[in-house]
């Protein structure tokens, strides 16, 4: 395998992981917030968390998060209201619905199980 193939494979893997987890990350952020948040705040929190550890975490392209917010709202997991801002265009504030909390709970279980499985396999634990 050529080096650029490895690079391309890494990028493809990262892209797929990100598109698979974006909705979970967004629901998590909005669920732990105390008040409705608009898109830019949400992306800022995700960026800060990604930089918090020693190793840089995955970087979500901010523009790719907005369509996920929209689709979460269409499916009823989020609700939003548009409010005017002091300067600039009105902002759309998102908050989580009770159905969204339920979805987040189920997703978290699936995520935990998946993560444990992947960790176990990669670390080669014998006691699986």
């Amino acid at each position: 395998m050529q080096l650029q193939d490895v690079e391309a494979a890494a990028r493809k893997f990262e892209r797929e992981i990100k598109s698979g987890t974006a909705a979970l990350v967004l629901l998590g952020v909005i669920s732990s917030a105390r008040q409705p948040m608009y898109g830019y705040q949400i992306t800022r929190i995700i960026d800060e968390r990604a930089h918090a550890g020693d190793e840089p975490g995955p970087r979500f392209k901010q523009g790719a998060l907005y369509p996920v917010l929209r689709s979460l709202e269409r499916s009823g997991a989020l609700e939003s209201s548009v409010e005017p801002s002091v300067a600039g265009p009105p902002r759309r504030y998102y908050s989580i619905t009770s159905a969204g909390e339920e979805v987040l709970g189920r997703w978290t279980l699936i995520w935990d199980a998946t993560r444990d499985l992947v960790d176990d396999i990669l670390k080669g634990n014998d006691d699986v």
Partner: protein, 295 residues
């Protein structure tokens, strides 16, 4: 700085030109909100960076128009089957499509066009016929040709307005065309181009034909509506106002009591059918108008 945002939004619109209009609107609103908030907050805390550098940094973090467009398109494809009920044609069961029209803005717009076309039809017809007759009468005079030229120009203008109206009310795209492709040509060359253009004459024909069509649309819409309303309001008309269902000479016909609910349901169905018919008629009309006005 806001130039940069405008340029970004424009290229995002271009990148999404084949997507659903609602998606485009969402994407543009999201991008504008984010970019403005991000630049505002970045300008507040960073030191030294010029506005262009800030904007470039913010756009870099948001993603290129192509990337963002791709993200919206992917989501649209994924969510479309699950939430197809939102006014997408050809989705859902037959009953849902039939009754769903009550929630479709386009159907109401079509009804509006059917009623409105009587007024515009009369105006267009009068304008076109007056203009043609006066042009014919003035042909022997010195100002005959300029008058005819101005009349043809006004026809082009009216054709554009009609195209806008139809696009707004039917959703069928009517491409905008410049009235003159060549700005450098002299007045005479422009006049010849205008007279020689097939579209000019098709537009005049459209304006003239719009009156009979407008009368037809208006009459049919009002008739269907009146019949539906008289069915739905049958109990009120008969029990309250004492109006019979039909009357021939001295013989009056009344609706049997057991038939009252049935006839009200029929009236409701007829109302919905009217909306379907109006929507279909306006869609056909838009195709015809496209042929006459912009081809």
């Amino acid at each position: 700085m806001s130039d940069m945002i405008d340029r970004y939004l424009e290229s995002l619109r271009l990148a999404l030109r084949d997507a659903d209009p609602a998606t485009v609107r969402d994407a543009l609103a999201d991008a504008e909100e984010h970019l403005r908030s991000a630049i505002e907050s970045a300008a507040g805390q960073s030191s030294g960076a010029s506005e262009e550098e800030l904007a470039a940094m913010v756009v870099e973090e948001y993603g290129t128009p192509a990337e963002v467009a791709q993200a919206y398109r992917t989501i649209e494809q994924h969510t479309a089957p699950a939430f197809a009920g939102q006014g997408r044609p050809g989705s859902g069961s037959a009953a849902r499509r039939f009754f769903g029209i009550l929630g479709e803005p386009r159907a109401y717009a079509a009804l509006l066009y059917c009623l409105f076309s009587l007024v515009t039809g009369i105006v267009y017809f009068t304008w076109a016929v007056t203009g043609l007759s006066l042009s014919a009468g003035f042909a022997v005079m010195i100002f005959g040709i300029p008058f005819f030229g101005l009349f043809l120009l006004s026809v082009r203008g009216l054709a554009l307005v009609e195209g806008r109206i139809i696009e707004a009310l039917s959703g069928v795209r009517m491409p905008r065309r410049p009235i003159f492709e060549r700005r450098d040509a002299g007045a005479w060359r422009r006049f010849v181009a205008l007279v020689g253009d097939r579209r000019t004459w098709l537009s005049i024909a459209y304006l003239v034909l719009q009156m009979p069509l407008g009368i037809l649309y208006f009459t049919l819409t009002v008739t269907f509506f009146a019949v539906s309303a008289s069915f739905i309001l049958r109990p009120v008309l008969e029990y309250w106002f004492g109006l019979p269902f039909m009357q021939f000479g001295v013989t009056t016909y009344w609706t049997p009591t057991w038939f009252m609910p049935v006839i009200m349901v029929i009236g409701l169905l007829l109302l919905i059918i009217t909306m379907h018919l109006a929507k279909m008629a306006v869609r056909l009309h838009a195709r015809y108008a496209k042929f006459m006005l912009v081809r």
